[in-house]
């Protein structure tokens, strides 16, 4: 299964990840002399950011891989089932109701609740009488729920007082600065568990891409597999969004680009996307906080900027497509 070429790619990716992390420790607005590195609070802040970027990168890319495989749609990203609107709504409610000042946990918790609630709603809406959830119905109900929640969010944003409005808009742009190690720990646990489960069941993802009926004929319990993977992907996305806000493009671009290099076999695709996503986000984060320091570019802008040209490139190549 793991040929020499694949091991090489994994080793290269791992080295790149380590390299980018070390690089990122040195990148920032303030120059920290090497001698002071170990005591410096600033380095600890950067370390927290790097770790969160790794976790978010893994979470978003793997969730992207899962959604693209299950929905069999190349435009699927972690937010396709309305998670972004749901989490945004949860966060907006937390800010506007004023509960976000009660504790640093309230905002992430409500964003997470919004994300999971949305997934449950979408899933329930898409379920047909026999307990079967057809994939295109899921996609459609996801788009609709996303639109409805998004409009509620817009309504809230338009009527709430100006000070809170700014906080909500900021949160929606995404930010990798984290001040709370405990939150980072919880999000990491969720994402790592999700990654492990996905790795263990990656072969089933391969079978799912053939189509639901062929997969069933090949002996896969399609509904159960769908359920497990949706839960895993939703939890990972929800946890990431709760900690960082909405960071776009990562879940969409990374799986596609890794697939071009390593092929569509999910047993290789999943770990490679995880690592590539981590590298991408750590690099994007160091870019975001360094280039026009002390002003910070929102991370979503940087991922779009770095990933956008790549996406255009993908659109142009129709041949050699694994999606034909």
């Amino acid at each position: 299964m793991y040929s020499k070429r694949n091991w090489l790619i994994f080793i290269v990716l791992l080295t790149m990840l380590a390299g980018v992390c070390v690089f990122s420790l040195f990148a920032g607005a303030v120059h920290v002399p090497v001698a002071q590195m170990f005591q410096s609070g600033i380095i600890r802040l950067r370390l927290a950011r790097i770790l969160l970027a790794i976790v978010a990168g893994i979470g978003l890319s793997v969730a992207g891989v899962i959604f693209q495989a299950l929905l069999r749609n190349p435009l699927a990203d972690p937010y396709v089932l309305g998670v972004s609107s749901g989490a945004g709504l949860g966060a907006a409610l937390a800010i506007i109701l004023g509960v976000s000042v009660l504790s640093t946990w309230t905002l992430p918790a409500m964003a997470f609740a919004g994300a999971i609630g949305t997934i449950l709603l979408v899933y329930t809406l898409a379920r047909s009488a026999g307990g079967v959830v057809p994939v295109h119905t899921l996609l459609l109900s996801g788009v609709i729920v996303s639109a409805v929640l998004g409009s509620i969010l817009m309504f809230i944003v338009s009527v709430c007082p100006s000070q809170n409005l700014h906080n909500v808009v900021w949160w929606l742009l995404g930010n990798l600065q984290i001040f709370d190690w405990a939150l980072l720990r919880i999000v990491s646990i969720v994402v790592v568990c999700g990654l492990v489960i996905t790795l263990l069941f990656a072969r089933d993802l391969n079978v799912m891409t053939l189509g639901e009926e062929p997969a069933a004929h090949l002996g896969l319990n399609v509904e159960q597999t769908k359920k497990i993977f949706f839960v895993v992907a939703s939890l990972m996305t929800g946890a990431t969004v709760a900690a960082c806000g909405l960071i776009g493009f990562v879940g969409l671009i990374v799986p596609h680009s890794v697939r071009l290099v390593i092929g569509p076999d999910h047993r290789r695709l999943v770990p490679a996307s995880a690592m590539a996503g981590a590298i991408f986000l750590v690099l994007a984060d160091s870019f975001a906080r360094t280039v026009i320091a002390p002003v910070e570019i929102p991370i979503g802008v940087v991922t779009a900027f770095l990933g956008g040209p790549f996406f255009l490139f993908l659109l142009r190549r129709r041949k050699n497509s694994y999606w034909s």
């Binding site: 303030v30 002390p294 040209p309």
Partner: protein, 315 residues
């Protein structure tokens, strides 16, 4: 990775990423903290332009070690180290400056204040929505910096000057005073409601805010409402960007019949910071507006470092 086209695109991608890496490398760590801990002066970081103005007014200019990129008055403020945007400091730079006190007027992130105070730095978060809150804020800053007496003196002097301005029109009945509409943004049309200090500015200057019955800070209003209110004076006051000038207002549908537009009593040359920035210069804003509403003579007046000449539409 076979076709030539694909190879070309991979090169492009590689170049983009390499460029990003290079930019980060070159632009990183541009700021080196200087360990000038020899001074035992209080080190203050201001995270809002109005806070900076208050600090300068309290004669604390040499204690300020960090400001935002919007802190542009007085001119000396621009040469102080910038730590980020309004309420959004770059945490690395903020910590590296080793401040003793951080004063903000609202944070972009809810947990920034907690994080800063966990590092042992005192944090003051002052939201100023009225003159009373402005005086409270000045008092709090005075207390935190040991300049309480100067703060009280400043408050008393501002209040005294406000009284002097109001003597001009005290004899005029409120129903005879000019109705004023302050336009803060044009899309959507935004004005200042009763809860805002701008409403108080209008009152202190002897006008009547047409939006005074709206119990919000900065409500969006329907243009029809403005026609219904029929203000005598319109003040155009946009924060930073340019907006429509006085001449364009008549082009708005139905606005040609508004009293202010018909008589040309549209003021668009008051420096917006004098009305929109809740600091000691609000007094100047009140004075200028009062002169517009009641001054019959062309006068020169000082507004900070700018000189304004009032003429023309003033009745």
């Amino acid at each position: 990775m076979v076709s030539v086209k694909m190879k070309r695109y991979w090169y492009i991608t590689a170049i983009v990423f390499a460029a990003a890496l290079a930019m980060v490398l070159l632009l990183s760590g541009r700021w080196k903290p200087n360990d000038s801990t020899s001074e035992d002066k209080l080190r203050i970081v201001s995270l809002a332009p109005n806070v900076t103005e208050i600090l300068f007014a309290l004669d604390l200019a040499d204690c300020i070690v960090g400001v935002t990129n919007c802190c542009d008055w007085p001119a000396e403020a621009k040469s102080i180290e910038c730590v980020g945007g309004f309420g959004a400091p770059n945490i690395e730079k903020l910590l590296a400056l080793h401040p003793d006190l951080v004063i903000a007027a609202g944070f972009e992130r809810g947990d920034t204040a907690e994080m800063i105070s966990k590092s042992g730095i005192e944090v003051l978060d002052l939201w100023i929505y009225s003159f009373k809150e402005l005086f409270e804020a000045v008092r709090k800053i005075g207390k935190a910096t040991g300049k309480l007496q100067e703060a009280e003196e400043m408050i008393v002097s501002i209040q005294a000057e406000l009284k002097v301005v109001s003597e001009r029109f005290e004899r005029i009945e409120p129903s005879q005073r000019p109705k004023v509409f302050v336009e803060m943004w044009y899309n959507p049309l935004t004005t200042a409601g009763r809860k805002s200090f701008i409403d108080e500015i209008i009152t202190w200057a002897g006008g009547v805010n047409v939006a005074r019955n709206i119990n919000q800070h900065y409500p969006h209003v329907n243009p029809e409402k403005v026609i219904e209110w029929n203000p005598d004076v319109i003040v155009l006051c946009y924060m930073e960007q340019e907006g429509p000038t006085a001449a364009r207002l008549a082009d708005r549908i139905g606005w040609a019949e508004i009293s202010a537009v018909k008589q040309g009593r549209i003021i668009d040359n008051i420096p917006p910071d004098l009305i929109l920035r809740p600091g000691p210069r609000l007094l100047e804003g009140v004075k200028i507006l009062a002169k517009y509403l009641y001054g019959a003579v062309v006068e020169k007046c000082d507004a900070g470092s700018e000189k304004l000449e009032l003429a023309g539409e003033v009745r």
